[in-house]
Every structure is written in C-alpha cells, then in structure tokens.
C-alpha cells in the first residue's frame, strides 16, 4: 500500500510540474523495474495509484468549475451522464498504468536471479 501511495505522490508531483499525461505510465513502469515483487503486484500498483490519482483529481476539478466542460465532452463522446466521465478518466489512467507497471516487472524479471 505504501508503494501505491509513493507512486501516486510521485505522479502527482510530475503532473503538477509538467503538462505530460504519460507520467502515469512512466512511474508504474519504473516501480515495476525497480521494486515490484510480482507481476500482479506491479499491475495493481499501477492500476490503483494512477486510477486513484485521476479519479480524485478529476472529481476535484468536476466539483470546482469543470462541470460544464465535462457535460460537453461527454456529449462529444456520445456518453451518458457527465459524472460518468470521472470513472472513465480513472479507468484510462488505471489501465494504462497497469499494463505499464506489468511491463516494468516483466523487464525486471529478465535480469532477476535466474
């Protein structure tokens, strides 16, 4: 759980400092390469840390002035209610981070003791 928190905080800092979305893939990948014990662990670390970060932050923006734009983007994508955009955003991050974390672990497995 600490790893999840550390990854989440690292992503948060990078995302606040730069405009790039892909920190949510880089950080779990790095965790996978450097510290993951299992593939499943790396996968879920990415899934949870990025998912929670984007879930919380999108919810926060949604509640503080981004309601109108969310409704319009939802219409653009042809989705249902505006609130759906929050789990959808989280899911994008969670899946991207999870596959990246797992890929990081798979690389780590190559150099780990045979």
């Amino acid at each position: 759980m600490i790893a999840v928190l550390v990854c989440l905080l690292a992503m948060l800092v990078f995302q606040l400092l730069t405009p790039f979305w892909w920190w949510i893939m880089i950080v779990p990948f790095a965790y996978g390469v450097a510290a993951a014990h299992t593939g499943g662990g790396a996968f879920f670390n990415g899934f949870l840390s990025a998912g929670l970060l984007w879930l919380g932050s999108s919810l926060c923006f949604f509640l503080t002035g981004s309601g109108i734009i969310t409704a319009r983007v939802v219409k653009m994508f042809g989705l249902g209610g505006s609130w759906l955009m929050i789990p959808a955003t989280a899911l994008v991050a969670a899946i991207a981070a999870a596959v990246s974390g797992y890929a990081g672990y798979a690389v780590r497995a190559l150099v780990k003791r045979k």
Binding site: F61, S66, T89, L110
Partner: protein, 825 residues
C-alpha cells in the same frame, strides 16, 4: 518465456501509450485530453475570474480593464498602442482558438490541423486567392503608419497572451484537435478581413446566368431577373432623393482607357505559401438578412436619434462578435469587435453610432480564358499570347506528404477551376475562367474603423468611409447633433448597365473594369424628410441613380416591411426598435396568400389538407416557433415556385435560381394569367390556380410524410431544427434545436445556421444609451457559463443594457472586477 512475456507486455504498454497519445482520425488523443492536470478538466470556469494584476512586457503605460456583470471588458489605456495591445491580449484570453482557426481556415491551412478532410476547402480558398488578397492587404496596411501601428499592437497583445500559456491553459479545442497556437501576425488580421469579404461578396450567379441566357435568351432573363424590381420593393435611398453630384460619363465598351486591373503584371511572388468548418459549398446568400436603420429625433419620444443594427451572419459558437469598450485619449468607443482584428467594428462612441448591412453589389466577375495549350502557360489576350504565372500553393497535410497546388494567374486574377479538373463543390465557379474580384485589390479597411471609433460628427463619419473598399456595406449613421444618414459605400467599378451579369470575355480588354465610381457619388442620403434611413440588403436606389452597381440584391420583404413600420410609428422608443428587430411578419406570405388562398379550393381534401388550409387561413403571417402555418407556407412556397419555374429550367439549367419573390408576387397579384404558370411539360394549359392547388397538395403530402399527423412536429420551431453549432462542428459544443421565431424574409431573419449575429439599439444624447444581445456570449470557452449566456435572451427577443463607462474609476453595480495591466519594470 520471460523474453516473450517481456516483449509482449512492452508491446502492449507501447500500444497503450501510442493509442492514448495520438489522435486517430477525428478521435482525440484520449490520454492528453482526459488528463486531469492538463486536459479538458482544466477548461472549467476558473479561467473566467479576471486576474487582478498582470505584467505584460510591451505595454508602455498602465492599462485598466473593467469587467462588467456580463463579463464584457472595458479597456482604459493612456495611449493608442496600449489600447490595442490590451485589446489583443484580452480578446485572445477569451477567443484565441476561434481567431486562430478562422485565420487558418481563410489561409487554406485546415489540412495542417485536421488532415485530408480539410484539403478541398484549403485548395479552394487558395484558388480563390484569399491568401494572396490578404498579402496585398497586409502590404497596404504596412504602408499606413496608423493602421500598421494599430494592427501590430493588437498582434503583440495576442502574442503576449499566447506566450503566457502553459499547455494546460490552451483552449479546449486545441486539446481535442491536438495542436498548438502559433504567433499572431498582421497578415492574420488581413486574412480575417478578406474572409469577411468572401463571405459577403462571393455569391455570384454569372455562371448560371450565362447558361440560362443561351437557353432562354436575354429578354426572358431581363423579365425574370429585372434590373429594376417591381414597385413593391422599396430601395434604400428614398425615391425622389436628388443626387448631389454631377455624374461622370460612363466608359463605353471597348473604350481605350486603361483597364482598372487587379495587378498590372501577372506575376504574384512565387512560392507562397467534421471538425472542419467553413463556408458552405455554394456560398449562402448573405441576404438572409441584415437590417439597420436610424430615426431622427423628430420621430422619437425622447427627441433624440436612435440607431438600430442587426447584422445577420452564419451563427456559431463562439459568437462571431466580441463585445468590448475601448477608451484612450481621443477615443472612447463601445460595441462589438471581430476576434482577430483591432477596433470596435459596430457600435458607438459618446457622439455617434454606426451599423452595417451588406451592400450586395456586383464586385466579382469571371473572365473566360483561352489558353494556348494544356500547360496553361499562355493565354490569348488582345490578339496575342500573354504569359500567365503560377503560384505554387504548398498545402501541409497532417500526417501526410505536402500537397502542392499550382494556381494559374492571369492579369485578371486566379483561375479557380481549370477545365479537366474535378469540379469544386462551390457550383458558382465556372470552368476555365479567371476571377476578377474587388477584394483582391490592395485595401486598408481598418482605417474606416479607426476613424469611426473616433468620429465626432458627420464629417468624421465621411472621412472614415473614404477608406472602405470591400465588402461594400450600407453604413447607417446617427449622432448627438441630430443628424441621421446612410451611405451605400464601397469601391465600385464604373460600367454600363448589366456589365458583369454574365461570364465576360477574358481575351479582350473591352470587357474589363474601367475606372471607379467616384466615392462621393456612392448612393447616400442625409436627414431625409421622412425622418428615417434604413437598409435591408435591398437594391440601393431607384432607376434615377446614374451608375450601375449590380442587379442581385435581397428580395423586397424586409426592406419594405421596415419602411412601412417606421413610416407608421410615432414617439419611437428604443423598446420599439428592439421590437422591430424581432418582427416576425412574413410580407411574402401576407401578399402571396392574400390572392392564392382564394385559389386553393377543397376538392376531396384529406383531413390533413383540410386542417392545413384552415391553419393558413387563420394565420396572421407571423413566423412564430409554435405555429404550423409558417411550416406549411414555407413548403407550399417552395413547391409553388418549383412547379412554376422548373419547367423553364430544364437540362443544363439546373443551377439557375428561381426569380426573386417580388417578381413572383408581382406575377401573382398583377399578372395571374402569365404564361410562366403554364407547365410546358404537359399538353394542357395550367393556370396559376392549378399550380397553387398542386403545390398545396404536394406540400401537405410531403410534410405529412416528414412530420406524421398534425401536431408539434409540424410547428415552425420544430420543423426548422434551427440551432447554433460550434465553429469547428464539435458535437456537443453548440446549442442544438432552438425553437427560433422569424424566417428568411422576416425582419427577424433567421434560418438553420443563420440569424441576427448581434442586435444593437443606440439612443444618442448627452448620455448615450445602448442595448445589445449576442446569440452567444463573451467567452470562447465552451466550459464557461459566459460561452452561451446570451442565447436564451436572444431567442426570446430581449436585449441587455450595454454599460458605457466614462472612466475606469466609475463605479456601479454592473462593475464586478478590475484588472490592472503593466509593462515590465
């Protein structure tokens, strides 16, 4: 095994990265777009809060921006440079994407953003010479220090804003389309001006008139498309107004005076350069209806003159106009500006008010060109072969190789469509003809606005009009001294009646433009005895005017209706003017149905036909959203015309339009036995009554198929499906399905995608009072409540009082925030 697992999982991660980081067709890059820290989530209302203080290197002095309750900025500067710098900065803050997109569109650079989908429109705009025209305008602006300083200061302000942006601050459309803003230039402002000219003067029927002349003969065309409309049409300048000038003699065809040319040598400098919006494939007629009028103090309750203007353009979100007040020593003007260009375009200052409608004169001609061979390198002119030139247009296409288009230029102008090439979707372009267009000539229309913003009286207004060439406009005017006036103003070729109505001979100088109508001879009237001036895109003058300016003006209804109403009104108030702008009466329906309803008789009508006829009979001819009668009349009118004219326009004549409504109504009321009502495709002879009954029957039948049994789906508001779409056609970013009153020929002229883009009423007096409404709002951010904050009031016909401040210190309940701008220390 481990290797395979590693490779596969890396590939999956890379695919996820690639998929989320890139746009796929028109699907936005999801990773970038939904990123809460830099994607669309950042485009909320937080940006609406005006900043307290900003340091903007480039400013010479302190500038204060006062924000009113509707989020409209009022800018107070110590000098002109800072004023227009601040205008650029503040406008970009609200409308950056819109101005950038429109300039790219006009320049033929959409494919750079949206890929191949933008290619046809890009090629067309370049063929039409919009970029070439803007280059010439930019040169003319650069030669005039005042104009150059104004437009450059504005560009510097825009660039100061662009320079301050982090990616997360980009307008959301950049994030959806996945590109970045680029520096703004003086050339871009020129492009927007030329795009306006395209929108307002490119509608042209020369191609189809030429085809029709061949089939029907000139005499028939002169009857169907008369130079002088029937008397039910009322011109802009009141008939009987004496002309206060001595006309210059008109050059005869083939006279040897040097032709007035687009450019003397055919050598433009070489090597120039569903989300896609742009003009409709065949340019829509701007006649859909701008109105302006000014009434003298002798007719108003307050004794002060009142001016009203509602320019009608393509309706989009963000709004085409941006409300602003601009104040510096020597100027204090308020009204609307065009994002991407400095100055107030339509508005008032503390002494005068002005407004525009499109003039609709013929300033665009086509010249048939005979090329020596397929290389198009030489063309026949005055008995010899003359060299053409080629401008290579390099069109960048996103994700693909550049497309290079060779545009052939003659001394007349560019050849838009060469024979043998695929036909452009704009069907008014003839094959193998060169385009001679007033908007291609170097001009500097910004100075008109510069002077209007500062004008103190009628002389100042005249000075402003002197630099206006294209697109010609009807400039309505009123001032605190009680003067009202209207000038039908532009730069017009001097020519014989009818010249340029058909495709001209490009191989002979005899057909070319020969000089210009002297500016002071343009149609105008000042303080007419009737106590008002008005225009609604109709023919400017009666037959007594000594020059020929064109033949293809808006149909009679709005002009006649406005004049009837103004003539009948007394003790006029600003509220009356606003009510007039929202007048929904269809004079067309009233006049046509006064006769045709007598001819439509119940012969075994179905229940729906009986109902439809009763609806029409009970109708007061107002186009109201809740009524079915406007729908029935609209379809009936179109079927009545189709059955009257389509037997005349067979075969090659498909592109020929129907005669104007005043001609049709004149036939109905005064010549019901006209041969035109006979359907030439049948052995028997049809009468007007036969046509009316057949049209009524088919109209109801079609509507029934479309809308089902009588009910809500038949109402005008439902049937028209009018709405205000997003400029880039992004779904969900507009306001769809609005139940709009009005119609194409009502004063409240509206249609799907068209309508009053700004309604303004100004009462001149010691304290100027103004009211206005936009079918949108100040903000260009679809995530802001100010994006479409005016739409509901606009729809309901309401307008807001416009705050006009004397100084930045003025306080009041409408002032909600202030921003201070300073240059770098």
């Amino acid at each position: 095994m481990k290797w395979i697992r590693a490779i596969v999982s890396l590939l999956i991660a890379a695919a996820a990265f690639w998929g989320l980081d890139n746009r796929h067709g028109m699907v936005p890059p999801a990773g970038k777009l939904v990123n809460p820290f830099a994607g669309f989530w950042q485009n909320g209302t937080r940006a609406d809060k005006p900043p307290g203080e900003l340091i903007l290197p480039g400013l010479r002095d302190r500038v204060r921006v006062v924000w009113d309750a509707r989020h409209v900025p009022h800018i107070f500067a110590a000098n002109d440079h800072d004023l227009y710098f601040a205008q650029g900065y503040i406008t970009a803050r609200d409308r950056l994407w819109q101005m950038d997109f429109q300039a790219r569109y006009a320049a033929g650079r959409l494919a750079e953003i949206i890929g191949r989908a933008g290619l046809e429109s890009d090629r067309f705009n370049r063929r039409f010479g919009l970029g070439w025209a803007a280059e010439r305008a930019a040169e003319a602006i650069s030669r005039d220090p005042q104009a150059r300083d104004t437009v450059e200061a504005y560009a510097d302000g825009v660039n100061a804003y662009i320079g301050s942006l982090r990616r997360r601050d980009y307008p959301v459309e950049y994030k959806i389309l996945d590109y970045s803003p680029e520096p703004w230039t003086l050339f871009n402002s020129g492009l927007l001006l030329k795009y306006m000219s395209y929108d307002l003067t490119s509608y042209n029927d020369d191609r189809w008139m030429t085809v029709a002349r061949k089939a029907l003969g000139e005499a028939v065309l002169d009857e169907l498309f008369p130079f002088e409309p029937p008397p039910i049409a009322d011109p802009i300048i009141p008939p009987g107004t004496p002309w206060d000038f001595k006309p210059v003699p008109l050059p005869k065809r083939g006279e040897t005076a040097a032709p007035a040319r687009a450019h003397d040598s055919a050598s433009p400098t070489a090597s120039f350069c569903p989300l896609a919006d742009g003009p409709a494939p065949v340019p829509e007629r701007p006649e859909i209806g701008s109105n302006n009028w000014a009434v003298s103090g002798t007719r108003t309750r307050s004794g002060r003159p009142i001016l009203a203007n509602d320019p009608h353009l393509r309706l989009t979100l963000p709004s085409i106009w941006y409300e602003i007040q601009l104040s510096a020593p020597g100027t204090n003007a308020a009204g609307v500006s065009l994002p991407g260009t400095p100055l107030v375009i339509i508005g008032h200052n503390d002494r005068i008010a002005w407004g525009f409608t499109n003039a609709g004169d013929d300033v665009l001609d086509w010249y048939a060109i005979k090329f020596k061979d397929e290389s198009h390198g030489e063309y026949f002119y005055n008995g010899e072969w003359r060299k053409s030139s080629v401008r290579s247009e390099v069109i960048k296409v996103r994700g693909q190789k550049d497309v290079i288009d060779r545009v052939v230029y003659t001394h007349h102008g560019p050849v838009v469509w060469l024979e043998g090439e695929p036909e452009p979707s704009n069907k008014s372009v003839p094959a193998g003809a060169a385009l001679r267009w007033e908007a291609h000539d170097p001009s500097n229309e910004f100075m008109t606005f510069y002077h209007l913003n500062r004008a103190r009286n009628y002389e100042g207004y005249l000075e402003a009009l002197a630099s206006w060439d294209c697109p010609a406009q009807n400039f309505a005017y009123a001032d605190v001294d009680g003067t009202i006036a209207i000038w039908h103003n532009g730069k017009y070729p001097l020519r014989q009646k009818g010249d340029g109505r058909y495709i001209l001979d490009g191989s002979n100088s005899a057909d070319e433009w020969r000089g210009w109508v002297p500016r002071e001879h343009n149609p105008h009237v000042k303080n007419p005895p009737r106590g008002f001036v008005s225009s609604a895109n109709q023919k400017p003058t009666d037959a007594s005017y000594p020059y020929y300016l064109g033949w293809d003006y808006a149909s009679f209804e709005r002009g006649t209706r406005i004049n009837q109403m103004l003539a009948a009104m007394k003790d006029i108030t600003p509220e009356d003017m606003l009510r007039m702008q929202n007048d929904n009466l269809s004079l067309r329906a009233r006049m046509a149905m006064s006769r045709l309803l007598r001819d439509i008789v119940d012969r075994d009508f179905t229940a729906t036909e009986k109902w439809a006829l009763e609806e029409l009979k009970a109708w007061n001819c107002e186009n109201l959203a809740g009524l079915a009668a406007p729908t029935i009349f609209s379809r009936f009118w179109s079927d009545f015309n189709e059955k009257t004219w389509n037997d005349e326009k067979k075969g090659d004549l498909w592109g020929m339009r129907w005669p104007r409504s005043e001609v049709v109504i004149d036939l109905i009321l005064n010549h019901p036995d006209s041969e035109f009502f006979d359907d030439r495709t049948t052995p028997q002879k049809e009468t007007m009554a036969d046509i009316a009954n057949a049209a009524f029957h088919s109209a109801v039948k079609q509507l029934q198929a479309e809308c089902g049994p009588p009910g809500r789906s038949w109402t005008w508001g439902e049937w028209r499906r009018a709405g205000i779409g997003h400029l880039g056609r992004i779904p969900g970013f507009g306001r769809e399905r609005l139940a709009m009153n009005g119609g194409g020929n009502a004063v409240n002229a509206s249609g799907p995608g068209f309508g009053p883009s700004w309604r303004m009423v100004v009462e001149l007096g010691p304290e100027v009072q103004a009211w206005g409404i936009l079918p949108g709002g100040p903000s260009g951010n679809p995530g802001s409540p100010y994006y479409d904050s005016g739409v509901d009031d606009w729809l309901a016909g309401r307008a807001h009082p416009l705050l006009f401040l004397k100084s930045a210190e003025e306080a009041g309940p409408d002032v909600v925030a202030k921003t201070s701008l300073r240059g770098a220390k």
